[in-house]
Symmetry: C2
Subunit: 182 residues, 2 copies
């Protein structure tokens, strides 16, 4: 499975592509940052984020896009820009029919470090180790994007099992309620 992780932001939008399946060594395919100038108007910045992400989707053709889930409670001053950049990422992927999954920062930290309260340095160190890199990817937004992709690859089997169980439960309920009404 090839996953593009996106750590959304207007000033720096982290992007990282990882290939692999749960339980096997993972491979980093690409990593980088889409930047937009802080003094540009919001519309130009969103257009630039869209163009940047389209290039990554064109070049790497991911099967899934994992985007950090934005909460309105945190970082009130920057949350609007983050929410708007995430909307562009979700839109670009969905327009191509690529499934989008949102992961919270705690889920990502827990997946790669074992604790949801890990700091940036711990996440960077684990991403470096898991992808067998020579040094932590810089800036932190790029490392976070790779961590999102890793988190998604590792959680996907559990999510699939959960979805299958929910679907089977719903099907069983439908057939049992049909039995009652027949």
């Amino acid at each position: 499975m090839r996953v593009l992780g996106v750590d959304p932001g207007l000033t720096r939008c982290g992007v990282g592509v990882v290939d692999g399946v749960a339980g096997r060594p993972l491979t980093m395919i690409g990593v980088g940052v889409v930047r937009t100038p802080a003094d540009a108007d919001l519309g130009s910045r969103l257009v630039a984020v869209e163009a940047g992400l389209e290039r990554w989707l064109d070049e790497y053709r991911p099967e899934r896009v994992a985007v950090e889930r934005v909460f309105s409670q945190h970082n009130v001053s920057t949350v609007m820009g983050t929410a708007q950049a995430s909307a562009v990422a979700i839109l670009c992927a969905s327009r191509r029919g690529i499934p989008v999954v949102l992961h919270t920062p705690s889920e990502v930290k827990a997946a790669v470090t074992g604790t949801g309260r890990a700091d940036k340095a711990q996440v960077g160190a684990m991403v470096t180790r898991l992808l067998r890199l020579d040094a932590p990817p810089k800036p932190a937004d790029a490392a976070d994007a790779l961590a999102l992709a890793i988190c998604h690859i590792w959680r996907a089997p559990a999510q699939n099992r959960l979805q299958r169980a929910v679907a089977e439960h719903a099907a069983a309920r439908r057939s049992s309620s049909k039995g009652r009404t027949a």
Copy 2:
């Protein structure tokens, strides 16, 4: 000047097109709502908002797009969806090179009713009067979109004067500082 007002939202995104200039009677050209199903996934909803707004831009060719400015302080439960829908609106307009202006809800209410604390009914009543309609546009999101367009048409002359003054001031400072360094 033709302005498309957008009251952003995922469930109901209000859209309204108004023609006119400040100080003259205004004309409503179109009004409506772009809806997306609440049970669809976020990606599909953003794609549907984009497709809906593209149709409005194609059909009405506005010279300006006025979008409600979203604040993270208010309505925490829905603010993320609103911010994401507004990002799509700003992106669609900016991609076409149409200038986008953001107005706060208070600015819009003050422009059409004289007070920033007006309620939905007051805004609807004034939109009906100003555009000489038979009845207030329904739902309220559609009326709000028209109010945004009206607000922009009326504020545009003042904004242009302000921008001109700022530009002249900056030019004067540049030439006076050149004078000093020469």
